[in-house]
């Protein structure tokens, strides 16, 4: 206890140097944008699938196969993008400030899988909403406010983006 207090004090005084153990390229470029675009794509693909259900059988099987494959790919992109930000960017001090982040990321993984498995639009909409919540937390850690509004393309559902200073 005394040792940890002492170490913390020394650290706060800038007397402790930081050494890296992994030497990953410290690029630090993280953004929730790609996850949101992929989540919107999932819903869009579900909508196209739904609209094409009355097409004739041969056209249907080809198009459906492509749409389903793409939907699964986009859902996997959502999962990957969120895992990377959560695993590489969120460190102890941020996690202490946002203790719910683990549960939220877990929900995104589960919902992302549901979107891969099925074609239920409500799962896609829920996936966007979960990614929006993640984006709000992420941009808050960057000291930025966020704006929420419908994306200017189909499926025109609300998405969260940072408000960047001019």
């Amino acid at each position: 206890m005394i040792l940890s207090t002492l170490l913390k004090a020394l650290d706060q005084m800038g007397m402790v140097k930081q050494a890296n153990a992994h030497c990953d390229i410290p690029c630090g470029v993280y953004d929730t944008g790609p996850a949101l675009v992929a989540a919107a794509s999932v819903v869009r693909l579900m909508d196209i699938l739904d609209q094409s259900k009355n097409d004739n059988a041969s056209a249907l099987s080809n198009q459906h196969t492509r749409l389903i494959a793409e939907k699964e790919k986009q859902a996997e992109i959502v999962k990957h993008e969120i895992r990377v930000i959560w695993g590489d960017y969120f460190k102890a001090p941020l996690i202490e400030k946002h203790p719910d982040i683990h549960a939220l990321v877990h929900s995104i993984m589960q919902k992302g899988s549901a979107c891969k498995q099925g074609i239920h639009r409500e799962d896609g909409v829920a996936l966007i909403e979960l990614v929006n919540q993640f984006a709000e937390i992420f941009w808050e850690t960057k000291g930025l406010t966020t704006a929420r509004g419908p994306c200017p393309y189909e499926p025109k559902l609300p998405v969260v983006y940072p408000v960047l200073a001019g």
Binding site: L3, S4, L7, V16, A21, C23, K91, I95
Partner: protein, 88 residues
């Protein structure tokens, strides 16, 4: 596998004249800056091969051989961060 030194650990190094394979050392690396690695091998000419203990670490080949002058110290004690989640 959890890392030998969890992210955010306080690590105390001491100046050391000699190191042995397996020692965890602090190195001022010409390319990667101040890093902590494990000693893999010491060559006759005194240069030292270092490696990470994680499979995700930068490879020995990428790290290259370092001189004794680049050695800043040898691990004396380490203390994991207080955040319980990171210790798990």
């Amino acid at each position: 596998m959890k890392p030998r030194l969890p992210d955010g650990s306080f690590v105390l190094f001491r100046h050391a004249r000699s190191v042995r394979p397996g020692d965890i050392v602090l190195v001022q690396h010409p390319r990667y800056g101040l890093i902590t690695k494990s000693v893999a091998k010491i060559y006759d000419d005194g240069r030292i091969a270092i490696e990470g203990l994680s499979p995700r670490s930068t490879s020995r080949k990428q790290l290259g051989l370092i001189s004794r002058q680049a050695l800043r110290g040898k691990l004396l004690l380490s203390r994991p961060p207080e955040c319980a989640w990171q210790r798990a």
